[in-house]
């Protein structure tokens, strides 16, 4: 098992490199921008796939966690502290490297928290909220859990839409790029296009490896056992509550990370990222990918988000995802991307032929 589970990782990495080469040879590098954005959305999908497919918990509030990550980071990196420059607390933060001074596109000097500090704060806040939400709702099952997470998503949406600090309907723009290491930065401007394509993919592949190893560990087995038969898992001494809570928080953190990096990449975030339709979109993508199928979720996450970002679905965008969800539930509840079960097909055909 050890090495074999990394084969898809290697194949994916090769395909990513291959795609970039093909696009640069054909001069279609403008596709890279949307692929990069899709990759960050795919992070959310991977996290949700862990939660839905493996722990069996539906969340209709993942856009909320995406927003908590993105908005926290956006607020902290754009709030101008220049007036408080001489404040001892700010000066102390500066000496720790938590605040940086930069110039925005209008040439205005801005003193704000550094993206790293904002990242840490955003992840901390997300885990705090996820634990609070999780502790209170994770014992719910099925529709009830879906309802509760839906409620959470709606609350976050209304907060974002209503609060001055989050820019209300305008959202927050002018978010600075995220300098990762020297030279490397999450930046949506043209010269950084290829670099960012790879940064996003490194994150996706790292997350995939994390997820694969999690599934293969005792936690993964415990999760699958809960999904299949919670009572039997109980009788084996699996602490179902803790396992589910852990996955819920992890999945929220992955969604938040997607939100943080996409916000820095786009340079902005708005309330459209937080709508319930976004949450439903993530659920639909996981369902198309085949629920407990990480690679399927990743592939569909990239493909469908890319098509959506390219505007292929036009103004029917949300309707398409709704239709996908209905279609999958009715016609292929196991998802489109799963290992074909030839035996089932054969037995189906033979039953047919016997009339």
């Amino acid at each position: 098992m050890g090495f074999r589970k990394y084969i898809p990782v290697i194949v994916t990495a090769l395909m990513v490199v291959g795609l970039q080469i093909v696009l640069s040879l054909t001069g279609a590098t403008y596709y890279l921008t949307q692929i990069t954005m899709s990759a960050y959305y795919a992070l959310v999908v991977i996290g949700l796939c862990l939660l839905m497919g493996y722990a069996g918990q539906v969340s209709l509030g993942h856009a909320g966690f995406f927003a908590i990550g993105g908005y926290t980071s956006a607020v902290l990196t754009t709030c101008n502290l220049i007036a408080y420059r001489d404040n001892s607390l700010i000066a102390w933060c500066g000496s720790l490297g938590l605040v940086t001074q930069w110039t925005d596109i209008y040439g205005k000097d801005i003193l704000s928290f550094s993206p790293w500090a904002a990242l840490a704060a955003a992840l901390l806040l997300t885990s705090l909220i996820a634990v609070l939400i999780g502790v209170s709702i994770i014992h719910l099952k099925g529709h009830y859990l879906a309802m509760a997470t839906l409620g959470f998503g709606l609350i976050i949406y209304r907060i974002v839409l209503g609060a001055q600090i989050f820019g209300q309907a305008d959202g927050i723009s002018n978010v600075p790029p995220f300098g990762l290491f020297d030279g490397l930065q999450v930046n949506g401007r043209l010269p950084f296009r290829t670099q960012n394509y790879y940064i996003a993919w490194v994150m996706v592949i790292t997350t995939m490896m994390l997820a694969i190893n999690l599934i293969d560990s005792h936690i993964g087995r415990a999760l699958r056992s809960i999904h299949q038969n919670e009572e039997a898992a109980h009788s084996l001494g699996v602490n179902t509550y803790r396992c589910k809570l852990f996955t819920f928080v992890l999945s929220a953190l992955i969604a938040a990370a997607g939100g943080i990096f996409l916000t820095h990449y786009n340079g902005s975030i708005g309330p459209s990222e937080v709508t319930v339709m976004k949450s439903i979109r993530y659920v639909a993508i996981v369902a198309v990918g085949g629920m407990a199928n990480l690679w399927g979720a990743l592939f569909m996450g990239i493909l469908l988000n890319f098509l959506s970002l390219r505007g292929v679905f036009g103004s029917y965008d949300d309707a398409v995802f709704g239709a996908i969800l209905i279609g999958i539930m009715l016609l292929a509840p196991q998802g489109l991307l799963r290992k074909p079960d030839f035996r089932a097909v054969l037995s189906f055909l033979s039953k047919r032929s016997h009339g």
């Binding site: 005792h218 056992s225 299949q228 039997a232 109980h234 009788s235 084996l236």
Partner: protein, 244 residues
């Protein structure tokens, strides 16, 4: 090893166990027999901590466990093989067994767990052959073996089994009961719930007869299988005469 006093339990408005008191001594095999709905499964679920008792006490290894969580009870050495097996059908046989050792993941090394797995494979050879097959592809009897093996992976002191003969071919039932007898010889304490009273009383030392949530009879396995009431109700002895 296990002492239950005045246990009452049920689901919602349903009052199922009405003051059960029984005990299991170390190294003993005790059978609980009774018809459908007598409360046998409810009793095992309550001991395992899956169901909360309304009143009464359960003492296991000198510790009160009726308020503990299932994971604490399993870690304490009391394992349940649930009714209808409940194996994880989309996981391999090996993964099913590994899940049985879930609570030992911090205390034991991988080698310890591999050793326990060898013991289970020695007990049920077929599981070794099918180690990488999905649980759902096993036959009913093999699934029962897997469920027992999975419970043994937690290194229990007391093994509780709920209807191990349910939905299993008669020949395989014999095999399973031979294994239960072997486990007992190796010193494992066993609490067995069965509708198949004949099989259960053949392997048990003592037994209790349940009827609508109460114990109506208790005694050694011998006494119970000789008891005309038990013979009539659970061993089907009289039917022949009636037919004649």
């Amino acid at each position: 090893m296990l002492r239950i006093l005045n246990l009452e339990a049920g689901y919602g408005l349903l009052h199922i166990l009405k003051g059960i008191s029984l005990h299991v001594l170390p190294g003993e095999a005790v059978a609980i027999i009774g018809a459908n709905g007598a409360g046998k499964t409810t009793l095992l679920k309550t001991i395992a901590g899956i169901l909360r008792p309304r009143s009464g006490t359960v003492v296991f290894n000198k510790q009160e466990i009726h308020r503990e969580s299932p994971e604490k009870i399993v870690a304490g050495g009391c394992s349940l093989v649930p009714e209808g097996r409940h194996i994880f059908s989309t996981m391999t046989v090996k993964e099913n067994l590994l899940l049985g050792a879930y609570h030992r993941r911090r205390k034991c090394t991988a080698a310890d767990i591999a050793a326990s797995m060898e013991e289970v494979y020695d007990l049920f050879g077929i599981l070794r052959e099918r180690a990488n097959q999905l649980g759902g592809t096993l036959s009913g009897g093999q699934q029962q073996m897997l469920a027992i093996g999975r419970a043994l992976m937690s290194k229990p002191k007391l093994l509780m089994m709920d209807e191990p003969s349910l939905g299993v071919a008669p020949l395989t039932v014999r095999d399973i009961y031979k294994t239960i007898a072997r486990l007992k010889q190796n010193g494992l304490t066993i609490l067995l719930v069965e509708q198949n009273a004949q099989m259960a009383l053949a392997v048990a030392d003592r037994g209790y007869v349940f009827e609508t949530g109460q114990i109506v009879l208790e005694g050694t396995a011998r006494e119970l299988s000789d008891n005309p009431e038990v013979q009539r109700a659970y061993l089907g002895k009289d039917y022949q005469k009636i037919n004649e």
